[in-house]
């Protein structure tokens, strides 16, 4: 029983880490640009598929390094051509646009790579379990956790220690003032979008090894990512991170006792948070 519980908590935390990784990217874009990027799951899928294509040439480690950057580059290009035009307009329009993009990306990946789930090779060294008693702790899981943690730490270092991060944080509070102080807001939003998409791409490369690679891989992750943001509080990145881990762990624990309710519990948590604290766990008062 303890092993089972432990297994499911660890499993839940791993899934939660994915939710958080995706939600952090969504949150970055939402905070600075007011855009809900519905196509985020699509970018995640592109990350996984690009890695799949790259692995024969550069190996897993090379793909892990290159693929997220390629995805971020695609994201930056899409922001420049399409999404930039919608800043300052009713959020309805950016939602619809990213909605359409999500359709196009899903269909596009299906067209290029096929609808079947593709075999995805992870290095043999990572696939083996570390010990017999804790059989579920395969190297890949530990590795994923470590990498997600590294990515999150990296993100917060960028935000707190670099000039770009300073500007992103300042822009989240008051973009107009940041603009008046001489920062090129167009470039700032562009880079910020790329950063968010990079995280989606990274999540894609990692998730493909665990969930299997198919065009709808992002679908099961996007809704929980939304809920991570809502639970954690809009406008707060640490909140988003906490929200993701919380709902991941909660759904893991629920799997032990009521397997069929493991999805539902996420929504129950959201409803509870909205009743008790509508701005979310770490959200600021009066922001939305």
């Amino acid at each position: 029983m303890t092993t089972l519980l432990l297994f499911n908590i660890v499993n839940g935390l791993i899934i939660g880490a994915f939710y958080a990784l995706m939600a952090l990217g969504l949150s970055l874009i939402l905070n600075l640009s007011g855009v809900i990027n519905f196509a985020h799951g699509g970018f995640l899928a592109i990350g996984g598929y690009l890695a799949y294509t790259l692995i024969p040439y550069v190996g897993f480690w090379g793909a892990l390094l290159i693929s997220p950057f390629l995805v971020a580059f695609i994201g930056v290009a899409i922001e420049r051509v399409l999404i930039r035009r919608l800043y300052g307009r009713d959020p309805l329009y950016s939602l619809l646009l990213t909605f359409g993009l999500a359709f196009m990306i899903e269909d596009g990946t299906r067209f290029i790579w096929g609808a079947q789930s593709l075999p995805y090779q992870i290095p043999g060294a990572l696939a083996a379990p570390l010990s017999t008693s804790l059989f579920f702790l395969t190297g890949y899981r530990i590795f994923m956790m470590a990498l997600v943690a590294a990515a999150v730490i990296g993100l917060f270092v960028i935000l707190n220690r670099t000039r770009l991060g300073l500007r992103i944080r300042a822009g989240t509070f008051d973009l107009e003032t940041v603009s008046v102080l001489g920062v090129n807001v167009r470039v700032l939003r562009n880079l910020n979008f790329g950063l968010g998409i990079y995280l989606a791409g990274l999540a894609g490369v990692l998730a493909a090894g665990m969930l299997g690679l198919q065009p709808t891989i992002g679908d099961s992750l996007i809704m929980p990512s939304f809920i991570s943001i809502i639970v954690g509080g809009l406008g707060s990145l640490p909140g988003t991170l906490a929200g993701g881990l919380l709902i991941g762990a909660a759904s893991g624990i629920t799997t032990v006792f009521f397997p069929s309710a493991s999805e539902a519990v996420i929504y129950v948590i959201m409803a509870a948070v909205l009743i008790v604290r509508p701005r979310g766990l770490l959200g600021e008062e009066g922001r939305f």
Binding site: L30, G34, I36, L82, R85, L86, R89, D90, P91, L92, Y93, S94, L95, L96, L97, F99, G100, L101, A102, F103, M104, I105, E106, D107, G108, F111, M223, F226, I227, I229, I230, L234, S260, E263, A264, Y267, M270, A271, L274, I275, P278, F288
Partner: protein
């Protein structure tokens, strides 16, 4: 000065709808397509009650559409084979669910409202998807049929006669649309528009904004669940795709495409969307790309919608 007088416009719309079964086939359509346009138009107009007239961005209306549909289908399949009873159950289920979720969301605004409505919408998708012993799961709920409606003195065979079904749907559509028009012209409707235009000012005038938004939300979801009932009856079938978030997106794009600030806009939007979808999906497998492209193009080049464009050209 508008080119067409409002009353003449209304008359033209109703004339077109009443005669549709007779000319639809002539121009390459079919009666069922007309019925579907009416159903989606009702859903999109119901959404627009909230989106266009109250200014609240809901992306989760498919949930209440689907609840109406599942309520109808399950009543006929498991409880009692009566079309009116089934519709009543469907409408009650959809509206009550909306009424319960309402208090959780009415304090939220803008993007936040949109996100939370999407997320809550998915709850019902998961229930329909997972609870397969009752809902049929991914395969949907089939092996049931809409029943002829018995008026006592006459019976309407909506099962065999697709024109009869069209006119039943049209009658329900007319009732609902009439009710919405009435509500929008009432002081209540004007209050909603005041909230849309300037929420803070409305609040200072002493209008209980949150309560009005809750009422608008419930009314909107009521009409969308009516549409959901009709949708299930039309195909004698319902599956989780009717509840999914992409369906909510379809309703929104219909409203935007036709023109959010016009009463008949969503009807025009629904007609264009469904005819295009019908045409494209019969010609290519990659219809999803086209739908997506369609979304992008509308947002970039057509944000005011068809009727919005006409209105602006007429300078009114």
């Amino acid at each position: 000065m508008p080119v067409i007088d409002k009353r003449v416009g209304n008359l033209l719309v109703w004339l077109a709808l009443v005669t549709a079964p007779f000319w639809l086939v002539g121009i390459g359509g079919y009666v069922e397509l007309g019925t579907r346009v009416l159903i989606y138009a009702l859903a999109a107009m119901a959404l627009n009650f909230l989106l266009g007239y109250t200014g609240v961005l809901s992306f989760g209306h498919a949930a209440y559409f689907g609840l109406g549909g599942y309520g109808t289908a399950m009543t006929i399949k498991y409880l009692y084979p009566s079309t009116p009873l089934a519709m009543l159950v469907g409408i009650v289920v959809g509206t009550v669910a909306a009424g319960l979720i309402g208090p959780l969301i009415v304090r939220l605004r803008g993007v936040y409202f949109a996100m939370v409505t999407i997320a809550f919408g998915q709850v019902f998708y998961f229930i329909a998807f997972k609870w397969s012993s009752v809902t049929g799961g991914d395969d949907g709920l089939s092996a049931w049929q809409r029943q002829p409606i018995d008026f006592g003195f006459a019976s309407l065979d909506i099962l065999g006669d697709n024109k009869a079904l069209y006119y039943l749907v049209l009658a329900v559509f007319a009732l609902c649309v009439g009710a919405m028009a009435f509500l929008l012209r009432s002081p209540f409707g004007r209050t909603l528009m005041a909230i849309r235009e300037n929420e803070r000012r409305a609040r200072f005038l002493g209008i209980p904004v949150d309560r009005h938004i809750w009422m608008s939300w419930v009314i909107s979801c009521f009409f969308v669940s009516v549409a959901g009932c009709l949708y299930a009856l039309l195909s004698d079938f319902i599956d989780p795709r009717a509840i999914r978030w992409d369906q909510s997106g379809n309703f929104v794009i219909m409203a935007v495409l036709g023109g959010m600030r016009s009463f008949w806009g969503p009807l025009i939007g629904a007609a264009i969307f469904l005819v295009l979808q019908d045409y494209i999906s019969s010609h290519t497998e990659n219809w999803m790309s086209f739908v997506g492209l369609f979304f992008v193009l509308i947002v970039l080049f057509f944000p005011r919608g068809v009727l919005g464009l006409i209105k602006r050209r007429n300078g009114s």
